[in-house]
Amino acid sequence: MSTQVTDEELQAYADNELEAERRLIVARYLADNSDAAKKVAAIVAQTALVRAATAPLRDPAIPQHLRIERLAARAQDRRHSRSGFGGWSSLVAAFVSVFVLGAASGWGLHGIGVGSSGVRPLVEEAADTYVVYEPDRLHPVEISASNRDELNTWVSSRLGRPLSAPDTIGDFNLLGGRVIATSRGPAAMFMYVNGLGKRIVMLVCPLSLHGTAPITDSSPDGLSGVSWSDQGVGYSLVGPIQGKELHDLGQRVRSEMADKA
């Protein structure tokens, strides 16, 4: 191994970019070579000075016009005034159509109903999801609760807003989840299981930017269902348990999610 050390290598040493073996060689070289050691010290000192001088420019406050949610809303406005659907990503398109359709159906203003746009009540989407995935013993969820960070990151990115699945709902524990397709666009499905092996499903789907609606009970497909919305996100719980019990679970989740938000 050569002990010839170039200025760029001294720089890489100062920047901690050398591999361990070479780093050791340069360190030994510096011990015997005060000129080189001074060069390294000068780089380190200059970098520290530059970082101190530039630190105030890293303003931790994010101005309103650069907030992600604000930009998503702006994108929707612009898209609204365009005729075509081209050029926009699936994410923005989904976000936007969810908003437009959600607003058209009056969801969040008049509770849950089928609007003229044909958007289905969220609780029905949740019941469909339940019917498809609940009986699946092999792959009821795409990402299991043991990888909940990955699950939360995935659904957050697809829904365009931060979302994390509650670990438990009453005595039901998170089994995992997946992104599913609904008439409103992508939604997050979280599945929970209790000690008796009974499963319930929670569906989460963006609706409009600020819609909020109280908890509503229903009984889709012989199951119990509840739905509500908070600040533009719709939630629905569906399961084979008593309506009263599910209503209580819904209330608990709702306050829990509100605390987190």
């Binding site: 200025d7 760029e8 720089q11 890489a12 920047d15 970019e17 000068a42 780089i43 200059q46 970098t47 000075l49 530059v50 970082r51 101190a52 001088a53 530039t54 105030p56 420019l57 890293r58 303003d59 931790p60 994010i62 101005p63 016009h65 650069l66 907030r67 992600i68 949610e69 930009l71 998503a72 994108a75 050029g87 926009w88 990503s89 699936s90 994410l91 923005v92 990151t153 957050s156 990115s157 365009g160 807003r161 931060p162």
Partner: protein, 168 residues
């Protein structure tokens, strides 16, 4: 996405601001960058380095912006850095004020400044900077080295009057 990207915004704004020398343009560049993230988010691979990926998008937007600006005659506004430089308080000779550091970085050649900002300021690795700027790692190292040497001479050259700048 919000949770992953928003923590990067302060660094993106700083980078855009120091790269463009033009504060008003910087936030526009960041905004363009964030909007482009929406349209490309689904293209991101899970093991991609998010910070490097976002900086790449911002850097490309900035370069295109400067290319357009130079075609139309670049406008340089008097920015805060210059004002600060003109009004910094008297100090001991060997003390370098932060404003002087910013002014000196501002005077680095464009291609050196980009490399320098990514590594010395934003603390990215050589490999990340090479990927963002789409240049070989050896070029990153040589530009970085020259940027540092130039900066050092600008900072030790305090006796000379501030360089005149063309305004508009």
């Amino acid at each position: 996405m919000v949770r992953l990207v928003e923590p990067l915004i302060p660094a993106l704004r700083r980078y855009a601001r120091m790269l463009s020398k033009d504060r008003s343009a910087a936030d526009d560049l960041v905004q363009d960058c964030l909007e482009r993230l929406f349209t490309r988010w689904h293209l991101r691979r899970p093991d991609d380095d998010l910070k490097a990926w976002v900086f790449t998008i911002l850097h490309n937007i900035a370069v295109n912006h400067f290319r357009r600006a130079s075609r139309h005659g670049r406008q340089i506004a008097i920015d805060e850095i210059d004002e600060a430089q003109l009004s910094f308080p008297a100090r001991q000779e060997d003390a370098v004020t932060h404003a002087q550091v910013l002014a000196a970085i501002d005077r680095l050649p464009d291609e050196h400044r980009g490399v320098f900002l990514l590594i010395a300021v934003e603390e990215l690795s050589y490999a990340e900077a090479a990927s963002i700027l789409d240049i070989p790692i050896g070029t990153v190292m040589s530009r970085l080295h020259r940027a540092r040497a130039r900066l050092q001479s600008l900072l030790t050259d305090n006796a000379s009057p501030p360089a005149l700048r063309i305004v508009r």
